[in-house]
């Protein structure tokens, strides 16, 4: 049994109801799927279990729902846990894991900036990549991709 | 000692006589053609007689001769040397960095080949004009570019002090060259000059005020911090510089640069009799070990060399204008030729510092030479100015070498080195000199 199965077994034993699904992706990576309300307990448990590095937080807009995907690594055990937290589309709010991993700081700000998911409990949830007065969250699927290009071409047609 | 090559006084006399004559002829030609005016009747010869007499008085001729001499000295001492040193530095560090460096020279001007008469001489220049030169004219081109640029004054700057500071810095630096001798005859303050070294130090110490004022008046945070740092650094390195100078003065017993150089020209056995095996001044042309202060006061030399390096704000000590953090330090807001002035004067301070180092420690303009057998003249070769410039350029090259192979150090480290390392060594050097004199080892 590899280390991934070990971690998977631990998580399943600790959170039997909360895990919607869990699978081993590669010998050193597992994926678990949870609801947004179970994120903080899981995060705290992982942190206590030696997962000290928050690699990445990705926000995905699946039109019917949002997902906040956490890649959490343990350097010592050399295993990665991918947590997929599901968020309803009409209420894009999830707990912040800033208190658990400070490295989540900029990732959560970026996800708020580009995807519009609000991370409750983040100390400084401001736009980071886009200007402060920008009004949209451009990575959402309802943000049209071609707007700017049309705008530019119209401006060019107009002679300016 | 060598004779004068040109006597300026008769030269100026002849020049003035020529101008007077020319003016008289023109006046005669113009006024003589108009009848009835009568200011210059034909044949009177000298229409402006009284004026010509004034111009011919020895007083005026002497003044003009002096002005010409001073101009030549200042021009050669500063402007030409400035260009040469900049060129040397740029070429030298380019070689350190494994590249060729600047190449704009006379050969880069391909229009020379198009001049009909001279065309044949310069045909080769056309092919790759910018890749053939020596690079000497690059600095001239940079200077011309600087002159063409606009002189901006920042909106909230304190205009009076902002404009006064470069003048203060430039004039105080030029003052150094009034007392810095290049040879026995080459100086504005003539030999003997009992306080020459003191005068140079006084002129050296004027610049920090200008730098501080420049940094403050630009109303910019970078310049303010740069000015503060610069002043703190220059002040704290002036103290070891003067202390190490005292060690030399104790040995030499004088503040006169001419006297200091003459004493260093003697063999070392004349001062320390125990070292007579190193040779003594015997027959003319004999090679002997000179009495340079670098041998007898080495700690002082070390301290002085490092202090001069800091006075030039060269790279290990270039925190005042550390470009990575403070953009360009205290001269950030200057533009155009005003920038060129304060920037270029760093090299002049380098020249003055290296010159001072050579005079104090490396025997000044003395060195082995032969007397050229010219009719009516006794010219020494290599003449004194050549010896001096060779030494100064070598010292300057050493500084360039150091500054392009070290990173800059932090301001607190700089001040620590100044106060905790250099000042104790300088005090030790003074103590050593006094001991050498007190026990009669050094006469």
């Amino acid at each position: 049994m590899g280390v991934a199965e070990e971690v998977k077994g631990e998580l399943e034993a600790k959170f039997p109801k909360e895990l919607k699904s869990s699978q081993v992706l590669r010998p050193r990576a597992i994926r678990v799927r949870i609801d947004r309300k179970d994120l903080l307990p899981l995060a705290k448990h992982l942190k206590a279990a030696g997962f000290e590095h928050c690699s990445c937080i990705s926000a995905v807009d699946w039109v019917t729902r949002y997902e906040s995907v956490y890649h959490i690594t343990s350097w010592r055990r050399n295993v990665l846990v991918e947590i997929v937290a599901e968020i309803p589309h009409d209420d894009p709010v999830i707990d912040s894991v800033y208190a658990v991993w400070h490295g989540a700081d900029y990732h959560e700000r970026e996800a708020w900036d580009l995807m519009g998911i609000r991370y409750e409990g983040h100390p400084n949830l401001e736009r980071i990549l886009l200007p402060r007065d920008f009004q949209y969250h451009p990575l959402r699927k309802d943000f049209p991709q071609e707007v700017d290009r049309q705008y530019i071409s119209r401006r060019k047609l107009g002679g300016g | 000692m060598s004779d004068h090559l040109i006597d300026l006084y008769p030269l100026c006399q002849g020049l003035i006589a020529f101008v007077n004559d020319l003016v008289g002829r023109i006046m005669n030609a113009v006024a003589g053609g108009i009848e009835g005016i009568g200011i210059a009747p034909p044949g009177a010869g000298q229409p402006l007689r009284d004026q010509a007499a004034l111009m011919n008085s020895p007083w005026v001729i002497g003044l003009i001769a002096w002005l010409v001499a001073i101009q030549v000295m200042i021009l050669w001492g500063t402007a030409i040397n400035l260009l040469v040193m900049m060129w040397m530095e740029r070429k030298f560090y380019s070689r350190l960095q494994d590249r060729v460096g600047i190449k704009i020279g006379l050969t880069s001007m391909d229009f020379l080949a198009r001049i009909p008469i001279l065309g044949g001489l310069f045909t080769n220049f056309v092919k790759r004009p910018s890749h053939l030169g020596t690079g000497f004219l690059q600095n001239v081109a940079d200077g011309v570019k600087m002159v063409q640029k606009e002189n901006l004054t920042p909106a909230k700057a304190d205009a009076f002090t902002f404009h006064a500071a470069p003048v203060l810095i430039a004039s105080s630096t030029l003052l150094i060259f009034a007392a810095l001798p290049f040879s026995d005859g080459f100086t504005i303050m003539q030999s003997p000059n009992p306080f020459g070294i003191l005068f140079i130090l006084a002129a050296f110490s004027l610049a920090p005020i200008g730098i501080l004022i420049a940094g403050w008046s630009s109303n910019n945070k970078y310049t303010l911090i740069g000015g503060m740092r610069s002043t703190a650094m220059l002040m704290s390195y002036e103290i070891p510089m003067i202390l190490s100078l005292i060690a030399v003065v104790v040995l030499m017993g004088t503040l006169d640069p001419f006297e200091i150089v003459h004493r260093q020209a003697q063999p070392i056995s004349a001062s320390i009799s125990q070292l007579s095996f190193l040779g003594s001044a015997g027959a003319d042309g004999a090679i002997y070990f000179p009495n340079w202060n670098i041998f007898t006061a080495f700690p002082a030399f070390l301290v002085f060399a490092i202090a001069i390096l800091a006075e030039q704000e060269r790279i290990p000590f270039d925190l005042p204008e550390a470009e990575a953090e403070l953009v360009e330090g205290w001269l950030t807001e200057y533009s155009g030729m005003r920038f060129g002035l304060v920037f270029g004067f760093k090299w002049l301070r380098g020249l003055a510092g290296s010159g001072l180092l050579v005079i104090l420690f490396l025997g000044g303009w003395t060195g082995p030479h032969i007397t050229l057998p010219l009719p009516g003249l006794s010219l020494a070769f290599p003449f004194q100015e050549l010896w001096f410039m060779v030494k100064v350029y070598l010292v300057f090259m050493a500084y360039v070498w150091i500054s392009w192979s070290f990173p800059r150090i932090r301001i607190d480290q700089i001040l620590n080195i100044g106060w905790k390392v250099l000042i104790p060594i300088a005090l030790l050097a003074i103590f050593l000199s006094i001991a050498l004199r007190a026990f009669g080892v050094y006469q």
């Binding site: - | 304190d158 009076f160 003191l198 005020i209 501080l212 403050w216 008046s217 503060m228």
Partner: protein, 89 residues
């Protein structure tokens, strides 16, 4: 004409004017500048009085001392030393 006298008058006039300006200047740096001019002209007067050594030492010491005075002036007075654009609002 006595050139010494002319130089003395020039130096002392400059010194007096600069000394007055030290006191009347509103801005710190202007006072410091005029103070430096005052002290340097005093050095010049020493030179005129055939006390070259004292004159040059005067310039070395005071040219060194004035920036330190200025630094203390900046450090110890709690006045704003820069024109902050946003403070005008």
């Amino acid at each position: 004409m006595e050139w010494d006298l002319v130089a003395f008058i020039a130096f002392s006039t400059l010194e007096l004017v600069a000394a007055v300006l030290v006191v009347t200047s509103k801005r710190l740096v202007h006072s410091v500048f005029w103070l430096a001019v005052t002290l340097a002209t005093i050095g010049g007067i020493y030179v005129l009085l055939r006390a070259e050594f004292i004159g040059l030492v005067q310039i070395i010491v005071y040219a060194g001392a004035v920036p330190i005075l200025f630094l203390f002036g900046i450090m110890l007075t709690r006045r704003k030393i820069m024109e902050e654009p946003h403070e005008a609002e």
